[in-house]
Amino acid sequence: MSVDGRFIYPNGRVRALELQLVSNRMWQMLLSADDRAEVIRLLTDTWYSLFIEQHKLGDTFRQAQEATEEELLELSEDPRLVRGLLHRRDVRNARYLWKAALIGTEKDVEVERDGLLETENLRRAVEDEQAREELPELFRQTLERLLDMEAPEVGDVEREMDRLAARVEREELPELGKSFENLVSWNLERKNFLTAARAQLREASPEELEDMLLEGGLHDPEEVASAYRTGRLPELLAGGHGQEELASALSDCLSRGSLLEFEKQGEKELLDKLEEASSHVFGPAPLAAFVLKRELEIDHLRILVAAKSAGAPRKRIIRRLPRG
């Protein structure tokens, strides 16, 4: 077996960077915080303090995400990692810009640093056919579909952009190694079942659901839609891919009418899979896994802050967050 030594140093550094992730003890304290203000105060004792200005969260999480990506891109110039990370950023920038242009929310949209595509090109592509032609095919097709819509609504734009994000992940991340290939499919599967479960609780029609499902999961969207029609979502999820525990959580949640614990179980398993990907030290997987761990941590912090702002008690929040 050949061993790629280029990643030994960056992966060693990533091990050290992982110490910056919020510790279990800190999560316990955050979960027990009295309110939003106390959460922010506690966060000033963590790595996030670099981005918190005058005890206000403001742009903290976005800056934290950007800083994490930049740090890893400096650590390794592996083209697979660079493409994987930067194209995901392109999707986010395209989402901000195109949504604003098509829905007409804001004139001056703030975007992240350029990814592989210049944000100015993404901005111009809405109006300028030549700029559109210069976009990578996936981006161009998405924008053309959006432009073909008559008076698109926020949901339409978000749906198309979710599809683009999923396609980019399916195309870029599997190059980072086998563990990532499995992780991408598994994650899309989890998202599709979450969408289907939400649709079931809101009594959406199967046609509406089909329109929301993403390609690339362990089951085809048609299979998921068919299970939705027959009320057998947990059975399909359990079938053959070692997801019995997640399927059991789905079944319980559907009967209770609340998906908090299904989301928690899914993200707990995602964290386990990222941990597993971190162990492949002779490739770029640990670096990408670190970025995804940070993203998940940021998502969890946002949920925590929102829940504390809404006055949700600790016991409700721990039903949702696989932390502490």
Partner: protein, 194 residues
């Protein structure tokens, strides 16, 4: 040397010594004054610097306090608005016609996870709507709903009780839980836009 000369010389030497002493004393006095002035000026500079720093610190602290107070007020106002909207929604549910209202109660009973004899507590306003007959229509072989003599004090909905286990399915509780859940769902779904 004549005595007068000796006396004059002594007097001159004494004058010169006195003048030297006076001049040294003057020089020392000037040096001390200058030293004291310099020290006082330094102390003044240091004290006024400290004072300036303290004033600035107090100003910043006060500004921070005001900002936090304003944030707290915004948060409170926001929660008050949301709570008011939830209360209004609950009141609207309670004002529904009997048929629609009982459909909601039926949905709650259908989701009841308790088994065996389940005591159903209603609010005083619902005494005429949620009756023994209505509850028995929703009973089956696993679960028998029995109207309790006790009443709950919340608005609309029911509290279900089987032995020591109870489920609060009053509208205000359901609305609070739904609100918290929606907040957590949206927080995760919304992109990191400014």
């Amino acid at each position: 040397m004549a005595l007068e000369e000796i006396a004059e010389r002594i007097a001159r030497d004494a004058r010169e010594a006195a003048e030297r002493i006076v001049s040294e004393a003057e020089a020392e006095k000037a040096a001390r004054i200058s030293e004291a002035k310099e020290r006082l000026e330094k102390e003044f500079e240091r004290d006024s610097g400290r004072l300036r720093d303290r004033i600035e610190e107090l100003r910043l602290r006060q500004r921070e306090h005001l900002r936090r107070e304003a944030d707290r007020k915004v948060q409170t106002a926001r929660s008050t608005m949301i709570n008011r909207a939830i209360d209004r929604a609950v009141q609207n549910l309670v004002k529904l016609g009997d048929e629609e209202y009982l459909q909601l109660i039926s949905a709650i009973l259908a989701r009841c996870a308790l088994r065996g004899e389940v005591e159903v507590l209603v609010c005083p306003e619902d005494e005429g709507r949620i009756t023994k007959d209505f509850l028995s229509r929703h009973s089956d072989q696993d679960r028998r709903f029995v109207l309790s003599e006790q009443r709950h004090r919340s608005v609309g909905g029911v509290v279900l009780r089987a032995g020591d286990v109870s489920q609060n399915a009053t509208f205000s509780m359901i609305a609070d839980l739904a609100h918290e859940e929606l907040v957590m769902e949206l927080a995760a779904e919304l992109p990191l836009e400014r």
